[in-house]
């Protein structure tokens, strides 16, 4: 693609105070407009840190990070984020949660009555899109985990952000709910034309959703490999059984195992059991 990248990190470094390793070491990555990119990797690889840095919630300590050619200094409304949980406002109804951004000055400067009307329409459209119409007036804590995440996604989409950052949004959901959410988020991606960056520890999820997969490795946190997903843009559940899907899944899982330091632990276990036998 020749178009200028939506998100561009070059030689990005991040080290937390007092940490022994870089959380991010020399991370360079370009994400194109309307792309769906997933980050995977063993725990501690910095995938969430990278996402949060793009979101402006963490400050990088070296290199440059640009969104639309502008350097990132802190969070902004064009980069909405969806968290794993506890992000909804329990004192507001589902509809009020979704319309939360309308309470903020950024979204209400010079607003006309037509604008207010459009916002109300948008909230209703999102409620319907997310299958939340029947619970619009419920409190968030009356909903299941899956429904709560739908609200969180709808709330993030309300202001039509150009970038949607998702930090393991389905990590706490059961497998069936997750599958439904996958197709929903792909649908949202087609409809909203947003650039989506999605962090997960579930390789299958990463392949099913992503057009590209960024595999990261821990200690120090860095990009290990970037995979192009050899599947058609329009995904269907049965693609999960396609040979190229399974092939890629195996490849990525093997690579994660190699980079995670898991191997040394297994060696130790083997050694211990041998000592026990002797």
């Amino acid at each position: 693609m020749i178009a200028s990248p939506k998100i561009e990190a070059s030689h990005l470094f991040k080290r937390f105070d007092g940490a022994a390793h870089d959380a991010l070491q020399d991370v360079s990555l370009q994400i194109q407009p309307n792309e769906f990119v997933t980050f995977v990797g063993a725990s501690g690889c910095g995938k969430s840190t990278l996402l949060r840095t793009i979101g402006g919630l963490e400050q990088h300590t070296g290199g440059t990070l640009q969104v639309d050619g502008q350097a990132v200094h802190g969070p902004g409304p064009e980069r909405a984020m969806v968290f794993q949980h506890y992000s909804l406002y329990p004192w507001m109804s589902v509809r009020e949660n979704i319309k939360f951004c309308r309470q903020l000055k950024v979204h209400t400067q010079d607003r006309s009555s037509a604008d207010v009307e459009a916002a109300a329409g948008r909230a209703d459209a999102l409620l319907r899109l997310m299958g939340l119409g029947h619970v619009a007036d419920a409190w968030p804590n009356q909903l299941s985990g899956g429904m709560q995440q739908r609200v969180a996604i709808a709330r993030a989409l309300m202001s039509r952000p150009e970038i949607l950052l998702m930090d393991e949004p389905f990590g706490a959901l059961d497998a069936q709910t997750r599958e439904v959410m996958h197709d929903l988020i792909l649908h949202v991606h087609r409809l909203e034309k947003a650039t989506i960056v999605f962090v997960t520890h579930d390789v299958e999820e990463a392949i099913y959703l992503g057009q590209r997969i960024v595999l990261m490795a821990p200690r120090p946190g860095r990009i290990d490999t970037i995979y192009d997903v050899p599947l058609p843009a329009q995904r269907t559940q049965d693609m999960k059984h396609a040979p190229e899907f399974l092939q890629l899944k195996r490849e990525i899982l093997d690579r994660i195992r190699e980079t995670s330091g898991m191997k040394t632990d297994l060696d130790l276990l083997e050694q211990l059991s041998r000592t026990a036998e002797a």
Partner: protein, 295 residues
């Protein structure tokens, strides 16, 4: 969800469960004792009410027995009847209603003054590390100082009028309240704050529209608890040149060895506290209905 659970739920349907009930019953009959002692287990609401009543009546009964049967000296332990008569006398001959009102005024005054300052200050401490670093160690230090020991200073600085009583109650509650408010504010889930940040909220908006409303239920609980503490400082506050109030009455009764009046005063303070506490709980239910949803 419903589909997933239906196979396992099938045996519990009325028809299927009938034969199963028989062997289950004997277990249920001698199980309650063990069931009631399940860690964090529930008990029937009638049982709860009955136990609460027993818990209140039993000490009263023991008290009555000690005086009626045990023949305790009235100077050491007056009977419930004597305390009751003393309370009635107090109401009719002296100004009990006035004492109660004066004391409520002092406690509520000290408490409100404390809350008005502690809420914004605690909110700042819990929200901004800079304010926390500046004020929390200091508050921690001061809160260990006994409020009673401040009486001479309060008399010196504030005088001996009404404001001195309010000041003592303020000193007794304020420092604890600030720290509890700060803790409530710190417990607001970070994801709630960060979500608003990525929607473009300004710092002021974060505090006004996320941090405060999110902490509000906990803050109201903190106010309820500290209101109780404010009452415990009443007697101390009325040590300072008072000539009315429940605490003052207790202190005066001590001088004349009117043990029954001391009892009456203490019990009255307890009752007022109990009523206040219940009012706070009721207000909590009304203000934060989503925390009390059934099912």
């Amino acid at each position: 969800m419903a589909i997933a659970s239906s196979p396992s739920a099938a045996p519990v349907t009325p028809v299927a469960s009938a034969p199963r009930l028989a062997p289950a019953l004997p277990v249920a009959q001698h199980a309650p004792a063990r069931r009631w002692w399940t860690v964090r287990g529930g008990i029937p609401s009638q049982a709860y009410a009955a136990l609460a009543l027993i818990g209140l009546v039993l000490p009263l009964l023991a008290w009555w027995l000690a005086t009626a049967v045990g023949g305790a000296d009235a100077v050491f332990l007056p009977s419930p009847g004597q305390v009751w008569h003393r309370t009635v006398d107090w109401w009719v001959e002296a100004d009990l209603a006035g004492d109660i009102l004066v004391s409520i005024g002092r406690v509520v005054g000290g408490f409100l003054l404390s809350a008005v300052i502690a809420l914004p200050l605690g909110l700042m401490i819990g929200t901004f590390r800079v304010v926390q670093a500046l004020l929390e160690p200091l508050t921690d230090f001061v809160r260990y100082m006994p409020a009673v020991a401040f009486i001479p200073l309060v008399m010196l600085w504030v005088g001996i009028d009404e404001s001195s009583k309010v000041a003592i109650i303020f000193i007794g509650t304020f420092f604890q309240m600030v720290l509890m408010v700060a803790e409530d504010v710190r417990r607001v889930p970070l994801a709630q704050i960060e979500a608003a940040q990525t929607m473009g909220a300004t710092r002021t908006e974060l505090v006004e529209k996320v941090v405060f409303p999110s902490a509000a239920p906990a803050l109201m609980d903190t106010l309820r608890v500290t209101m109780g503490w404010a009452w415990t400082y009443l007697v101390v506050a009325e040590l300072v040149a008072a000539n009315s109030g429940l605490g003052y009455a207790i202190l005066k009764a001590q001088r004349f060895l009117q043990t029954d009046k001391i009892f009456a005063g203490i019990i009255l303070i307890g009752l007022i506290g109990l009523v206040t506490d219940q009012l706070f709980r009721l207000a909590h239910r009304k203000a934060f209905p989503w925390l009390y949803l059934k099912g």
